[in-house]
Amino acid sequence: MKRRYRFHPGDYALGENEQFYTEMAARGWLLERRGAWLSRFRRGEPARLRYRVELSCPGVFDESSELPEEQRSLYEACGWRFVSRGGLVNVFCAPEGSGAPEFYSDPRQQADTLKALRRNYLLGWLPFLLLAALQLAMGAALFGGAGSALGRWAVSLRLAWVTETALVAAFALFLLRELTALLYSEVRTGLLYRRLRRGIPLDHAPGRRQRLYRAIRGALLAGCAAFAWPSSGRLAAPPLCPRPPRGPICCWATWATGGSAPPCR
């Protein structure tokens, strides 16, 4: 049996996900399993199917992110078939024209299902904040005060930028990518929530608005990989005397930091 993996839209993009799976089914790829980043499809006959997403809304201390059994059986009694769950996203399917009713006649109720998703995104900031706070606290303890800690960190960053330009660039791009992804997810979820609260129903076929965003994210990832690749070899076998990377970036960095870096060879 032929299988295919594809990146699916983010969890917040309910309508885009629905359209994505519907279009894949029309081309003969039926959803088998939705994972965290990728969805797995199996080859089948092109079919006119409707896919719909229902978000789980577990409490803060609930261990499972599954839909309540009762909710799932109610949907199935109405003609929707449960396909797969990835995180909070539950995917249901029904043939086109089968008359299976849409989940929500009132958009305001669908807005409430976004609660757990919004909470997850908010909690996503926690690791970054904790790490930064920890670094600052440690620096302050070691170097007597937050001000001098920040100063020393800035100096070491400049040194690292010169000696390990590619690695610092890779890390910076990675961090930037993660933070922009988080922020973007939060903003999109908030916008969807407000639209639903205002009574505007979910658009199940919104069109391809995400192209630009995904292109930017892809570019950041590519840049990250491009910078990390040359560094990875040197990290595996560190030289006795650190040698800065060759090329225009190194020379510019040397000039920018006032010539305090070792000369390129």
């Binding site: 229902e54 009762e70 909710q71 059986s73 109610l74 009694a77 006649s105 409430d112």
Partner: protein, 102 residues
């Protein structure tokens, strides 16, 4: 005991449907029948409504079948339903002068 805010139409019909104990899907079908096909609730809407009514103590589980849970009205639910019915009836009666109004 007075309900400070009027009940939504969906809730009124759901309570009306549950004068006969039933599970979720049966409630959905009864609501459609009772409203003459006018009110078609989505399963998500109904589930949210049932969960809220259970939390407010208007309905309760009677028996659990294999997978389906059977709901019935509680005394509080009955009072709420009758109260709403009387309120609506009063509203219609107060507007009786509208018959033939252009």
């Amino acid at each position: 005991m007075a309900e400070t805010q009027p009940m939504s139409e969906a809730m009124y019909y759901a309570l009306l449907a549950l004068t006969e104990p039933g599970h979720g899907y049966a409630v959905m079908q009864r609501v459609r029948a009772l409203s003459g096909g006018r009110l078609k609730m989505g399963p998500g809407t109904l589930y949210g409504l049932l969960a809220r009514m259970k939390k407010e103590g208007l309905i309760a589980l009677t028996a659990e079948g294999a997978r389906r849970k059977v709901y019935a009205l509680t005394p509080a639910g009955r009072r709420a339903l009758l109260g709403e019915y009387r309120r609506l009836k009063q509203m219609v009666e107060d507007g009786a002068g509208l018959e033939g109004y252009q």
